[in-house]
């Protein structure tokens, strides 16, 4: 009883610093293990994908968000509900392509990079590419195939951090055997 009252707020929330530092340790270990920046980027993306396909279930269960009817709605939900719930930030949605199948998420402060400086010679490292994987994996589970990549990164001296999302196609539900 008393322990419950001491703890303030949502017990599921942990210190953002703990998360950021853990992620930093993961990246530096991968850099040590692979010695090849492209491979590290790929591994981070893959890790993110595997997290995304599970995270979406937690997200849907907690937010009670229904199916989105267009990409604008999807972008809004990602920025205002998804990022808010898991990282405590609300990115700005902008730079829509004329055909409406691409948008950017602008992050003023990326919580993953709070204590990070990229060392010399690592300029190709996509430090936060785990986020791309998470988005791709999560959206795949709700029948959307997307490409996600970094356009700008504050770690590389850009003014803002920009994640680009491009809608590829809708994935169809599997048809049971013997039907068409």
């Amino acid at each position: 009883m008393s322990r419950q009252t001491v703890r303030s707020g949502d017990p599921r929330k942990v210190s953002a610093e703990l998360f950021t530092l853990t992620y930093g340790a993961l990246v530096s270990q991968l850099v040590k293990d692979y010695e090849n920046v492209d491979e590290v980027n790929k591994q981070l993306d893959k890790l993110g994908y595997n997290m995304g396909i599970r995270l979406i279930e937690d997200f849907l269960a907690r937010s009670n968000v229904g199916r989105c009817h267009d990409l604008r709605e999807t972008a809004d939900v990602i920025a205002k509900v998804g990022f808010k719930m898991f990282l405590g930030i609300v990115p700005t949605v902008s730079n829509w392509s004329p055909s409406g199948d691409e948008f950017s998420l602008l992050l003023d402060n990326n919580p993953l990079t709070d204590f990070v400086e990229l060392p010399e010679g690592q300029s190709n490292l996509e430090y936060s590419s785990i986020l791309c994987g998470v988005l791709r994996g999560a959206l795949e589970m709700v029948q959307m195939e997307v490409n996600v990549w970094f356009v700008q990164d504050q770690l590389k001296g850009d003014n803002t951090t920009e994640i680009r999302v491009k809608f590829i196609r809708r994935l169809e539900d599997a048809v049971p055997v013997g039907e068409d």
């Binding site: 279930e57 907690r62 229904g66 709700v142 029948q143 055997v177």
Partner: protein, 146 residues
């Protein structure tokens, strides 16, 4: 009131979990796999039938059907997981119950268990126990002793 049985399907039609409580009559199909396929096929057809025949835009889509003996309750998550719970006829709308089954049991004990492979039949005993406990404690579970 009573609950007969529960099917959980993933979006590829794999039966992730099946459990029964008060089922008195069996389908007579030798293999359980065949019954799962039939069930999934029927749900799939009803879903597309309901969507096509609806005179206006649907919000939730197909949610249940009744026969003279039982009611089949259906809930689908945006990620394509399907929960099918057969109950008797006195049960009202149990969408909330099925959503809770998803968020409090499936997500907690399957999604958050890294040893549970997604898209495969669920083997976790903890999940089985928690699910059984949850359903048995539902007000709609109350069985007549006869």
């Amino acid at each position: 009131m009573t609950v007969f049985n529960l099917y959980i399907f993933d979006r590829n039609g794999t039966c992730l979990y099946y459990v029964e409580w008060n089922r008195k009559k069996h389908s007579g199909i030798a293999s359980q796999e065949e019954e799962f396929k039939l069930m999934y096929g029927m749900i799939f057809s009803i879903k597309s039938f309901v969507n096509r025949i609806s005179p206006s835009d649907l919000k939730d889509g197909f949610s249940s059907f009744k026969t003279s003996r039982y009611k089949c309750n259906f809930y689908e998550t945006p990620s394509g997981l399907k929960f099918i719970l057969n109950t008797d006829l006195n049960v009202g709308n149990i969408r909330d119950v099925l959503h809770q089954l998803y968020s409090n049991i499936y997500v907690e004990y399957v999604v958050k268990n890294p040893l549970c492979e997604l898209g495969q039949p669920i083997k976790s005993d903890l999940f089985k126990t928690k699910l059984d406990e949850y359903v048995r404690n539902l007000p709609i579970f109350a069985t007549k002793t006869n």
